[in-house]
Symmetry: C2
Subunit: 456 residues, 2 copies
């Protein structure tokens, strides 16, 4: 697709020569994301203010040209790949923290602010923004909101949907609007804030966000529990979540993943049937009782070892297995299929055992680890060649079917994007999908916003 000259003129006038490009090198750089899928956009623009986005969407709507919002492309689902061409609008230069207001527990940011930059700016005020998909140095707040990216702290502090008060955005109609509040409570009309969060740029482009801040607890304690098998670890997760002290991280690693990390990371990585990493935070004087409560719940049939880190070095050592896991997987399979299914916590044993059976059945290496406190497991299929890749795809469909049978859903925090939309009818009935299409139509009547994503 070549863009109409009139549209190109508008792009140049609106964004300026240094923020608007149709050069192939630039287009290539914005053709892909962390999903490793790619498709060339026809142009790339770099936004710096809300008014530009209104003009962009209005012009693209007039010419029926796709508009794809992009933070830093760290998503794993192809949500920012311009599969139908069009204009990619990068928010990387629209990255000002507009206001930090500790008295009112909010910060107002532009979408291109990096998660890590925000956290650093908040720290002197004693606050943090809980969502962090463990990619804080590289991922943008706008991307976090678009994908409802959550991360390990969600078990205690919630996802972006629970940590955002209001938004400014531009709908597919080209109209700018505000939704939500500057207050921690609101019952004035429909909740568009949460509707836009997780909508992957298919309803509107977020141009400003009012984020709810949380006081940063000054203390943190780390525990590591090794179990005989995945089932006893999964039961421990349910026990931990059924008592009053909610950990701020409750991570699970299965035996296959431990073995992989051990082979890669050395003897400091323990071997066992399964491992839980548990963190509790709070004011220092509350931590001993919190550690006690969580330790009591972690104990039970199948516990082989429980260690509590006493120093920063010990904390680091306890996390070594988790840290070694990503590079270890990459050495085996550069084309890992990285899923993030979620089931009710009590169904974790069935999920882990079911995945094990599917791994054998399809002869594909699968490691499972992730945010067990939310029942959110990263199921990573590691095909080593083309034949395994084909088997992995067949296996994946059965993984999703298993998850749905266990009352779970396709994605806990990665979203749907391009790669999971074909599986949406497994998770959602035709009536729900039909209403989602109606809502898409309500915001984006010509279907120009991020076409080919989320909805099948």
């Amino acid at each position: 697709m070549k863009l109409p000259a009139a549209l190109l003129d508008t792009l140049h006038t609106t964004f300026g020569a240094d923020a608007c490009s149709t050069h192939e090198a630039e287009r290539l750089a914005y053709a892909y994301d962390n999903s490793r899928r790619h498709a060339l956009p026809d142009a790339v623009v770099f936004a710096q203010e809300h008014a530009q986005i209104e003009k962009l969407v209005q012009a693209c709507r007039e010419h029926r040209i796709p508009v794809i919002a992009r933070g830093r492309g760290t998503n794993t689902t192809g949500a920012t790949v311009p599969v139908e061409g069009g204009v990619v609008v990068s928010f990387e230069r629209m990255n000002r923290i507009l206001r930090i207001d500790p008295d009112n527990r909010f910060a107002i940011v532009e979408p291109g602010v990096l998660n890590g930059d925000l956290q650093r700016a908040l720290a002197p005020h004693g606050f943090f923004w809980p969502p962090d998909p463990t990619s804080s140095p590289w991922c943008s707040i706008g991307g976090n909101l678009a994908c409802n990216s959550a991360g390990p702290r969600t078990v205690k502090y919630g996802s972006p949907r629970e940590n955002t008060l209001g938004l400014r955005a531009v709908a597919g109609t080209g109209e700018g609007f505000r939704c939500g509040t500057y207050t921690s409570k609101g019952a004035t009309g429909y909740d568009f804030t949460r509707l836009l969060i997780g909508s992957e740029g298919t309803l509107a482009l977020i141009t400003e966000a009012t984020l709810k801040l949380t006081p940063k607890p000054s203390g943190l304690r780390t525990l590591r529990a090794m179990y005989r098998d995945v089932s006893s670890a999964a039961h421990a997760v349910a026990r931990i979540m059924a008592q009053p002290v909610t950990p701020c991280a409750l991570e699970f690693i299965d035996d296959v993943a431990l073995k992989l990390a051990h082979d890669h990371g050395g003897d400091s990585v323990p071997l066992a049937g399964a491992m839980l990493m548990i963190e509790v935070d709070g004011e220092p004087e509350t931590l001993p009782s919190a550690v006690d409560a969580v330790s009591r719940a972690a104990r039970g049939d199948g516990l082989e070892e429980l260690r509590v880190a006493q120093t920063a070095e010990e904390t680091q050592a306890l996390w070594s297995a988790r840290k070694a896991l990503s590079p270890a997987q990459r050495t085996i399979s550069p084309n890992k299929i990285n899923e993030d299914v979620v089931v009710p916590v009590s169904r974790l044993p069935e999920l882990v055992n079911g995945i094990r059976q599917l791994s054998h059945k399809h002869d594909v290496l699968i490691v499972t680890f992730g945010h067990a406190g939310n029942g959110n497991l990263h199921v990573n299929l590691l095909p080593r060649d083309e034949a395994e890749r084909e088997r992995a795809h067949a296996c994946l469909a059965e993984v999703f079917a298993l998850v749905i049978a266990l009352q779970g859903t396709l994605s806990g925090e990665h979203g749907i994007g391009l790669v999971k939309r074909e599986f949406m009818p497994l998770a959602l009935a035709p009536s729900t999908l039909g209403l989602m299409r109606n809502v898409k139509q309500a915001f984006d009547p010509d279907g120009i916003l991020n076409p080919g994503k989320l909805l099948p």
Copy 2:
């Protein structure tokens, strides 16, 4: 309006003779709610299962007859008053707790379950559902969800939007659908759960809810702080909210309200420039440090007395002023205008002082009290006769304008309903309202669900 015979036939067949009425006595009983507005419905039906609601909405859609969902009518905004007639569907008999699942921290309920009945059923499991608009013995979960009713605990635990995982519902198209998850995390498509919560029955009728449960802390401590004036109390609120220990209640009462409660409730109610009631909860061993932290923040310029209850009796005594307030207001004005505006916490002094000036300007008695930790104040205008009622209405418009100028919004937890829809354009721009109308159209193309509510 008289209902078409074919529709009446369908209602009789669907609900049965003992759950379907067109008698005037029955219609009168469902003509009003706690707003004291009223309008006769043409029929009342009592639902018992989801399938009936699908049939009801399909039949009413065919004949373009309004359908008004009703919990227990405790809302204050006229949200359940059938202003255009039609069929009121009461959920009071659809009141089963379908499942309590402590391992997965959720409960599945029908919409007619009373908030208090749910809390009682959860207690033996060590859990609670945080939203409680302080009317738990009479209000239904369905109503709580429809209005996003929150209450004092919201400051720590959030509103229904933060405490609901998924819903089953019937859209204005007559189609049943499910949205959300059984898991504490989800990124599978648009967030319809939060969109329906607070939509006041204008998008869909909720027939089942999966509620997120929270472990009930076993300890609670109550503090009462008296201040020289409203400004010093409001500054204390901001200090309390800027430190890490978030109270589970942080209630404000102004001097006018205290005087009123004192005149009505006797000398046990203290007099002062303003009062804060503060509660902290947690495991017993964490409470002393929490009380210390909150006390430190409560101290400052203008503090006149700080008391910590040591016994259940003392706790009761500390709450006496708050308890005496409602009956005291009723003796003055049976027609109080009960608003629940919300502003960022740091703007509370300006709000309270501004309201005082408006009270003088319009010569209308106003008391302000409420959930200060969220910046959510109940502004109660107490007109004593018809002339004052007219002045009160003029005053109210200026109260809302003040709130918007302070970056607040019309409602924190009561919603919009009938009585505040004329003020919606003060809070929301035409573009936002236009998109809300589009979404209404997406769910309810013929506009039969609770017409005349929420949107102006």
